[in-house]
């Protein structure tokens, strides 16, 4: 019979709480950079010719068809052996997750741009807005309201994907769990604590973002 003992978990709980904070930080950094990549490439795709479109599609398809774990290994172990670059595990992971998020966000933003009613853009033309003004005052604000639900889903999903950083010994939540696992062997207890931490945080973020969506909902 297995005897539960949570004492050791509480003793090392700071590994988990700081791990959770780092997980959130990684997710926030990645979505921030990912949004920039995604938005830039979606606009490039939208206004680009055949070749730029093909290049953007290649990037999106490549990233989406390679496992995240492989990308993480490739960037951390692969790139420094070919290029003369030095970076830490955390930097490497944030870069990877940003590029990964970017590929998904390109598609989301592209769909958002396509969902803008034609009449709005025509109205902008009719009152004499320049293409740049139409982009900044009409298309982007409308697009953000359309894509907000997809953005929050992506964010929660990225938050869960930060667990992959544990393979590079980035001290986030899953790494903390592994550390306690290997040092105390209270395996069931660790995961019985870590699982609710992921769950509650994930649902709390989602709940907060859903409130935000309601405020900016398109009618």
């Amino acid at each position: 019979m297995y005897h539960f003992n949570f004492g050791l978990i509480w003793r090392y709980f700071d590994k988990l709480s700081w791990g959770l904070v780092l997980s959130l930080e990684l997710a926030v950094a990645s979505i921030a950079i990912g949004v920039v990549i995604g938005l830039a490439l979606a606009l490039v795709y939208d206004g680009g010719g055949r070749i730029t479109r093909a290049l953007v599609s290649m990037y999106v398809e490549f990233i989406r068809n390679v496992p995240l774990l492989l990308l993480v290994y490739l960037v951390f172990y692969g790139i420094p052996t070919v290029v003369d670059l030095q970076y830490g595990a955390t930097t490497s992971f944030v870069a990877t997750l940003s590029v990964y998020a970017g590929a998904y966000l390109v598609e989301i933003f592209r769909a958002g741009l396509a969902a803008i009613p034609r009449g709005l853009i025509d109205a902008g033309k009719a009152i004499g807005l320049t293409p740049y003004q139409r982009l900044v005052y009409v298309r982007l604000p409308t697009m953000f309201r359309v894509v907000l639900p997809s953005l929050s889903n992506t964010f929660v999903s990225l938050f869960k994907d930060t667990s992959v950083a544990s393979v590079l010994a980035v001290p986030e939540l899953t790494y903390g769990a592994q550390w306690i696992n290997f040092n105390t062997f209270r395996i069931v207890e660790v995961y019985a604590v870590v699982t609710p931490m992921y769950l509650v945080t994930g649902y709390a973020i989602l709940g907060a973002l859903r409130q935000l969506e309601r405020r900016f909902a398109v009618r």
Binding site: S163, A177, Y191, L199
Partner: protein, 119 residues
């Protein structure tokens, strides 16, 4: 590099094998759970819903570690294939599909609402 190709090939084969097993198992389970979600009694529905939300709310990696290290430690003897998460994902996809199918069906006239017609 060339000399390592055979072991990479074996790895690819394992990946494919695992994928096939996972898809088969999750398809079967997903169909059952999806049907429960749609037509089952309320307590069972809630149970399936809880399971689905929990599994989808935690990272795959955590689930894999939990099952690989946790279950044997808790005295549960399983082979260490961490199928559960993938299974749950596909199961949820299916239950979602069945769910929306059933909602669509209920709003239509009842004789056209049979899932067999939808499928």
């Amino acid at each position: 590099m060339i000399s390592s190709l055979p072991s990479l090939g074996r790895g690819l084969w394992v990946t494919l094998e695992v994928s096939v097993i996972v898809v088969a198992v999750s398809l079967a389970l997903g169909l059952v759970f999806g049907a429960v979600m749609t037509y089952g009694p309320l307590p069972l529905k809630l149970l399936v819903r809880l399971f689905s939300d929990v599994v989808r709310g935690i990272p795959v990696l955590v689930l894999i570690f939990f099952i690989y290290y946790g279950l044997p430690a808790a005295g549960v003897d399983i082979n260490s294939l961490a199928l559960l998460s993938e299974r749950a994902m596909i199961r949820t996809c299916l239950s979602k599909a069945l769910n929306s199918a059933s909602i669509a069906a209920r709003t239509e006239s009842s004789d056209r609402a049979m899932p067999s017609k939808l499928a």
